[in-house]
Every structure is written in structure tokens, then in C-alpha cells.
Assembly symmetry: none
Homo-oligomer: 191 residues x 4
């Protein structure tokens, strides 16, 4: 049983790497089999189809992200701005720690390979972010516009700095990261 879990994990990890490096469609099941040292037939024991494997990768990323950004009981007690910063930083940490997960999410989350239904379902994993945004609006801390817009805006602010970091376009200093966070905050608050 432990082995099974492990094979599934190996497959997800190998697939993620190949998907990101050469694109999902160029990555054949045979290649995944070879790189992961798992027979093709075995892959199909764990995932009914390539589509399900892709979905598996997607969900794994979001589930893991969800766990990473969840607030502890203590953190829940912090004031709004602190939680806002904390959430953003947690997202930044997560994607920085797992660059391939970021790349996958950034490239494929809006591609035709991920169904709307799945995207919808995955929203649950970052409900915490939505809740925070809605609280902010309700309490007058954030500007009163559509939460979906704010959600995307926040993701894009994260994405901006992480893309630069991963593409090595120039060195990203801690200063720059906090600048970016401040840009996000400033743009979402009144004056």
C-alpha cells in the first residue's frame, strides 16, 4: 500500500516535470513510463487515462497549495493587513519552493486541457483567499469591487514577481518582493 502511494506520487512528480519542460501534449505516456521507471500498463492502473493523469497533477498542486496557505489558529487572530501579507507571502513561498508547480499552474490552468468543471472544483482549495478578500471588502479595508477581480489581481501580482524570478530575467531581491506586495496592497486599498 505504501508502494502504491509512492508510485502514484512518482508518476505525478515525473509527469509534472515533463509537462512543464516539453509541454503536456508532447509528453507521451511512454516517456513518462521511461523516466519514472514505471511500466506503461502500471500508469493505467493508477490513472484511467492521460486526461486523468493531467487532472491528477493539477489537483495535487492545488490541494498542496491549499494546505500550505491555510491559516493556523493563531494566525487567524492577526489583524487584516497582517493576514493579507501572510497569505501573499505563503503563496510566494509555495511557488518559489516548487517552481514546476508554478509553471504548470501558470501555463495550463486556463488552457483547454483543464476543464471548467475541474477549475471550479479546485476553487475550494483556495477558498481561504476568497474569504479573506470578502472580509476585507465587508470591513472596508479593500476597495469595493468584484472579489473575483481582486482574486485574479492578487494571483497576477504574485505571478509577476515569480515569473521574473524563475526566468532569471534579473535577480529578485527581498526588497523587490516586498515592493511587489506593497504594490498589490496599495492598489487594493483606499488611498
Amino acid at each position: 500500500m505504501i508502494n502504491t502511494t509512492s508510485k502514484r506520487a512518482i508518476l505525478l512528480e515525473t509527469s509534472l516535470e515533463l509537462f512543464v519542460d516539453q509541454g503536456i501534449q508532447k509528453t507521451s505516456m511512454a516517456l513518462i513510463s521511461e523516466k519514472s521507471q514505471v511500466a506503461v500498463g502500471t500508469i493505467y492502473h493508477h490513472f484511467k487515462s492521460k486526461e486523468e493523469l493531467i487532472e491528477g497533477v493539477y489537483l495535487e498542486i492545488l490541494e498542496s497549495l491549499g494546505k500550505h496557505i491555510a491559516f493556523t489558529h493563531e494566525e487567524e487572530q492577526l489583524d487584516f493587513k497582517s493576514r493579507f501579507d501572510l497569505l501573499w507571502r505563503k503563496g510566494y513561498d509555495y511557488y518559489t519552493q516548487f517552481p514546476n508547480r508554478f509553471r504548470f499552474h501558470d501555463t495550463y490552468s486556463y488552457s483547454p486541457l483543464i476543464s471548467n468543471q475541474l477549475r471550479e472544483y479546485a476553487r475550494g482549495y483556495y477558498q481561504v483567499a476568497f474569504d479573506l478578500i470578502q472580509e476585507g471588502i465587508r470591513e472596508g479595508m479593500l476597495i469595493n469591487t468584484n472579489p473575483v477581480l481582486i482574486m485574479r489581481w492578487l494571483y497576477n501580482s504574485l505571478s509577476t514577481i515569480i515569473q521574473i524570478k524563475l526566468n532569471h530575467e534579473f535577480e529578485v531581491t527581498e526588497d523587490m518582493v516586498s515592493t511587489t506586495l506593497e504594490m498589490a496592497w496599495k492598489s487594493l486599498t483606499y488611498k
Copy 2:
């Protein structure tokens, strides 16, 4: 001669549509041939390979964008904030007018299907934006951080609202658009 030009244009347009609707890799040359009413062999007469066709689509979009966002001589005379707004609005107009071009750019510009070299080359088409950003920093109108970061930030601000509009997640009002623009401006200026 007119026909030749026209065939190339038809191919680019049809390809763009199919690429965006079903993904580049799922779009076969045979399908492009069928939808565009141009024989497969003829496609290869105009584009050496599928790869070159993809690049053609990419460059066409950016070249056309470049023309659209260029400032007229009169516009050049406007003050910084006016030009900042104008550029953002032009980008918004362009992508709103050509939704498929936006979708293509947003989905594929950072995928492995577009080479770094090509991306580099295409940068020339939106040099205008870079110039404006650099002027803003120099003149103290924009915060003093890396222009590439600001460039991406601006693109992401545009992308945020356009994605929502195109995905019909909710109705996007003119009010919302100007709010987004203001968010971008506010985040990039001192106080």
C-alpha cells in the same frame, strides 16, 4: 499577388482561431487545411512547418498590437499620466477587439511552443511601453523599480480584466475597467 497575401492571412486567421479553441497541439494541419479551404501542401508552401506557422501567428499578433498602441505625434505631446492611461486603454481596446489574439498571447506566450529567441525578438513591437515606463521612472512619476517588473505588472493588470470579460465570469462595466486602470496607476506611483 493579392491572392498570395490573402492566403497567408487566411491561414493565420484560421490557425489562430483553432489554436485558441482547441489548443495548438490538438489542432492538426489537416484541420487547418479544411477550415481555411487551403490544401495542406499549400500551407507548407507558406510556412515551412507547423512550428513556423505558430511563430507566424505569434508575430502577426504582436506586430499588429505594436501598430495599434503606437502614439500619434499629437499624443506624444500629452502629459505622462494621460499617456499612461492612453497606452493602457489602447492595449485594452486592442485585445477586446481581437479576443482570440488575447487568448493566444495569454495562453502561449510563455509556453515551450514559443522560443525564448522569438519572444526576445517580439519585444521590439512593444518598445513604446518600455520607453514610457522608463521615462516615468526617470521623471519620478513611477516608483523606482525594475522596468521589466513594471512591464509585466501592467500587462497583468490588463490581463486581469480582459480574462474576466472574455470568460464572462460577470459583466464588466466601464466603471470596472477604469477602476482596474486606477488600481494599476495607484500601485505604481508614490502615495
Copy 3:
């Protein structure tokens, strides 16, 4: 396991036949698949490419020839002329028994479809012949000229009579075969 071996053999045999009958290039993989009752994909399971299949046919022929012409321990004891005749006869037998193998070798062994490297490698299979030639020269039984020249000369002597036999240009009698062998011997010896 037996089936696997068998499929490879069937493919080599079918390919040989088609290559000889209609030319290598006119023989499509689809046709080989059809005639051999082996799916196209399966062919590629056994041979990475058409090129490798061609090489497989070539090597199979030479390897089998090599086994056929090898001297037994007893034969090794015979005098030079006997072994010379024996080798030539063995070659004649082999190619007469497997006409397609002769045709393939005769048509393609010096075509651009067989790489120099492969040709070089295959030389090992008829090292026996080279050894005999060198012994003959050393012992003064054969004229003292380059062994490669003699090797080719011998092959061409064989080829002459087999071509005629296979093309049915006229009936080839045992008398004619031994005449040809004597022509070869006479031309390679002093007086």
C-alpha cells in the same frame, strides 16, 4: 517469447521480399504491415525506424551468410585449392538457395541506403574469406595483389553467374558453374 522472435523474423522476411521486388523506397511501412499481418505500430516496436529495418535485413543476410560459409573443423584440414573451391561453392549455394538475399545484397550493399559504418561492421561476417585470401597470397598460391581487390573479384565472379541464373537469361548448367569457378581460380593464380 517465441512469438516475439517470430514477429521479428516475419518482418525481416517480408521486408526482404518487398524490398527486392519493388525497391526499398517504394516499399511503404504500411505495405510491410499489410503483407506481414503485423500492425504498423508493432513494426516500430521492433525497429526504431525504416532505416533500422533496412539495416536489420542487411545484417541478417550477412550474419546468416557468415554461418553458412564457415569451415567445419574437418574442412579446415583440406588443402588450399579445395578450400578455395569449397568457399566459392558455399557462397554459390547460399545465394542460390536464398535468391532474395542475393538480390538484396547485390542491389543495395553499395547504395546510399547502407551506411559505410554498417558495411564496415558487416565485414566481420565474411572474415573467413579474407583469411583464406591472405593465406593464399602468403603461401604463394594466389597472385600477390591487394586482398580487397581479390575479395571483390571473387564476389563478382559469384555474382556474375548467379545474376544470370536468377534473371533466367539462359539456363545455367552445373558445367557452367564449374566453368565460372575455374575462371575465377585461373585468373587469380600464376600460370
Copy 4:
């Protein structure tokens, strides 16, 4: 008219070179067009099809060979052995002077790309050789075996030394050439 002739000649020469270098089937009409600087359509003005172009190359070679090996009136007066040597030498000269013609003939004259009918027809070009052989048999200068066998034997003797020369397997000295000629003569005569 002079230009026309010239284009035809250029096409034949270019085709020959490409056929020999990469194989007939791998040589596309487009490539011939490019290398010869003659538009594709123009090729089809001179040759109805690729097949006819191949035949053109084949016939050109044999016709030219025929002219080269023809005896002058004076040469006709020489004794048999002298004419035998002369003919062999002329063949050797011709193919040495035009290596590609040799390679083409050697590779393709017995391939399925040259029809039996054409081969038959081309025989006329080297009738001179047949005549000499038949005279030799009649006069008791050559062994009494089938002339076709002798014809092939002679061609193969030529081919042996030319192949070695062209493949640069080792340096071919004049000594070696005359040795080869002597081998051919010795093998075809009584004692």
C-alpha cells in the same frame, strides 16, 4: 534552341549528381529544380515525368559510353588481343573520367527503377563489346561459353577495380589496373 539543349543537359547532369549522392527516390523534383536553377515547371517541359528523367539519365550515360568505346577504322585493324585490351581500357577510361556515371550505372542498372525494356534497348550501345566477344569465341581466342556470361564477367572485372578506385579503399596504381585486365584475359582464354 541552343538554350534548350543546354537546359536539358544541365538537368541531366544535376539529376545524375543528386541521384548518385542521395539515391533516386530521395531526390525530389523540387531539389533538382533548386540545384539546377531551373523552375519545376520547366523540368516538366523537358521530361514528361520523373520516370522519364531517370530514363534520360540512364540513356545519356549509355549513349555516351557507346560513343567512347567505338573503334576507329584504324583500331578495327588491330589483332584480337589488342582490341580486347583496348575495349577494356576504353571502358575503364570512360568510367574513371565520369565517376558519377559509373556509380549510377552500377547502382541502378539492375534496380526496379530501370525497366527491362529500357535495359534491352540500351544494349545496342555496347553492341561493339558483344561483337568482339562473339568474334573471340568463333576464332577460338576465348573460351566457349555463353557470350552473356562473358559480357557480364568483363563488366564485373571493370567494376571491381573502378569501385575500389572510387571508394578510395586504397590507392589504385596503373600496375593494379593492368593486373586486373590480365586477370580478366587469363580467365577467359585457354591456358
